[in-house]
């Protein structure tokens, strides 16, 4: 590179500008001709696309702020829920099951992850970075799959840590106050915890799909809040009971088939069916985003 260090941002520009067809051995000048032979570029592969998306995701603050907020909400509510339940426990039999108590923050935390996913999907459209990305990886499906894969690789461990952290903090509090507790070895408990992490990840991916589909966070976050919180409640109270069969196919209801230990009698879907339905929602959202991104101009 250059021998002289120039404190301004122009250093190399200056060197090039003042160079009249530099002699090959001129040390002060970096010639474009010289750099050409030294650049080792390789084929564009899916694995390299993954690396690129990983660098992108880890190099923006919002990823880690979102993950942190998720953890605080989930674990914080676990402690809070455990304390409140235990102080009420003395009065009579416990109303809710212990696992629901320690995972009480999940209802809010899922929205944090949904928003994080929406941002992951929409962000590049907002900044127009998507043009650079699309030029670098013109086979657009690769971009969608790489982004979804990297998001999953970050969100799933974060969800697992959050869920097991909530369990690890909440159960001892319940126990210390004499309330009912469950152990990881009890039937269904481990499945429920892992299932909850899977559900949280799925919602992040649905948010990602919507963010990429709408090319903006507003619509995507509205979609998540509507689909996860409002729609199940609204439809549940408005529609006659016979419609419950249909409501079971909403993402949140489908997830409750494998996140709740003691099923409430009205459950229609089996745990396996719940997984299939939720995965279906994820594939629909991410697939829809992919089709739209592949077809539309960016």
């Amino acid at each position: 590179m250059t021998n002289q260090t120039n404190p301004t941002v122009h250093s190399a520009f200056d060197d090039r500008a003042h160079a009249e067809r530099p002699a090959a051995d001129s040390p002060a000048v970096m010639s474009a001709a010289l750099t050409r032979t030294r650049v080792a570029t390789h084929k564009q592969t899916f694995a390299r696309g993954l690396v690129s998306e990983w660098i992108k995701l880890r190099s923006v603050k919002s990823t880690w702020i979102g993950a942190g907020a998720f953890g605080v909400v989930l674990v914080g509510f676990a402690a809070l829920g455990a304390l409140l339940t235990s102080s009420a426990a003395g009065a009579g039999p416990q109303m809710t099951d212990p696992l629901s108590t320690v995972l009480m923050g999940a209802n809010l935390a899922v929205l944090v992850l949904g928003a994080l996913g929406a941002l992951a999907g929409a962000r590049e459209f907002g900044s127009r970075m998507i043009t650079t990305t699309t030029v670098a990886v013109p086979r657009r499906w690769k971009v969608v799959v790489a982004k979804a894969t990297v998001l999953t690789a970050v969100i799933l461990p974060v969800s697992l840590i959050g869920v097991f952290g909530a369990y690890a903090l909440g159960m001892p509090i319940l126990g210390a106050h004499g309330a009912t507790t469950v152990a990881l070895t009890d039937p269904g408990v481990l499945t429920s915890l892992v299932g909850m992490a899977g559900y949280l990840t799925a919602i992040a991916l649905i948010g990602f799909g919507l963010g990429m589909l709408f090319r903006g966070t507003t619509g995507a976050i509205a979609g998540i809040i509507g689909g996860v919180l409002i729609l199940p409640m609204l439809l549940g109270s408005l529609l006659p009971d016979s419609w419950d069969v249909v409501l079971q196919f909403l993402p949140t209801s489908a997830a409750s088939a494998f996140t709740v230990v003691a099923g409430s009698g009205g459950m229609v879907l089996s745990a396996a069916a719940g997984v299939v339905v939720l995965v279906g929602w994820v594939l629909a959202a991410v697939g829809g985003a992919g089709v739209s991104y592949v077809r539309r101009d960016v």
Partner: protein, 308 residues
Amino acid sequence: MIEINGITKTYGEKVAVDDLTTTIRPGVVTGFLGPNGAGKTTTMRLIVGLDRPTAGTVRVGGHSYAHSAAPLAEVGVLLDAKAVDKGRSARNHLLAVGATVGIGKARVEEVLAMVGLTEVAHKPAGGFSLGMGQRLGIAVALLADPAVLILDEPVNGLDIDGIQWVRALLTDFAVEGRTILLSSHLMSEMQLVADHLLVIGQGRLLADTSMSDFIHHTSHGEAVEVTSPDAGALMPLLAADGVVITSTDASRFTATGVSSDVVGDLAAVHGLRLHNLTTVTASLEEAYLELTRDKVEYVGGSRLAMAA
């Protein structure tokens, strides 16, 4: 080599690019000119497949860009320097983009140094000035040392050092046999750097010719600038078929269709004083204005009348 074959792009009713056919050859800098909204950026977006053409095909290096094995190494693109994530550092931006073709830290640092951004590389790109952002955009285009360079108004916002650097770089790239497509509204800059010109207006090709042919065929050739206290006496002597004289004030005029030799000799024969006698070569700006006079999409309040 970029082969553009009958591409048309419409956005709803608006025809942005209209049946454009041309070949952008390697080894020369091809300048891309046209008024605002003429379709330059759209054409560039079509070349790299950001937009789907309504009709026609584009081939880069013999195939559609979407089929590139190592896209960034084939084509380096600067379309919109502001198209970066505001929260990501310049270094991470380059690392992320380079990673798609296996480019790592060493080359990223090299390119940062080339464009003079090393010292601010850790800062979020959102805080960059116009020129710094432009340098980052150029760095992305150069990252994988591409065989084809497509630069949309690259010197926009660059300081004088930056402009000179880009000029030297483009000349070097052309000498090395690469293909360069460059758009700019700075005619003087374009005249310095481009060998070949593509001019479009309202999406249609108006000219596809070498720089020198463009200037000489479109404009009225060279002009002679004269300053003389005896201008009043000299001007009538020059009057002849094909000579056009534009007088700027009592002692100054510009003549086309006559050489400076003739003007000087005539003045000597008639004992008239000359304080200045200069031949001015026709500029790209004049030639361009003449060609696109009727093709401008958005005309400002008034337009400088051309001395014909």
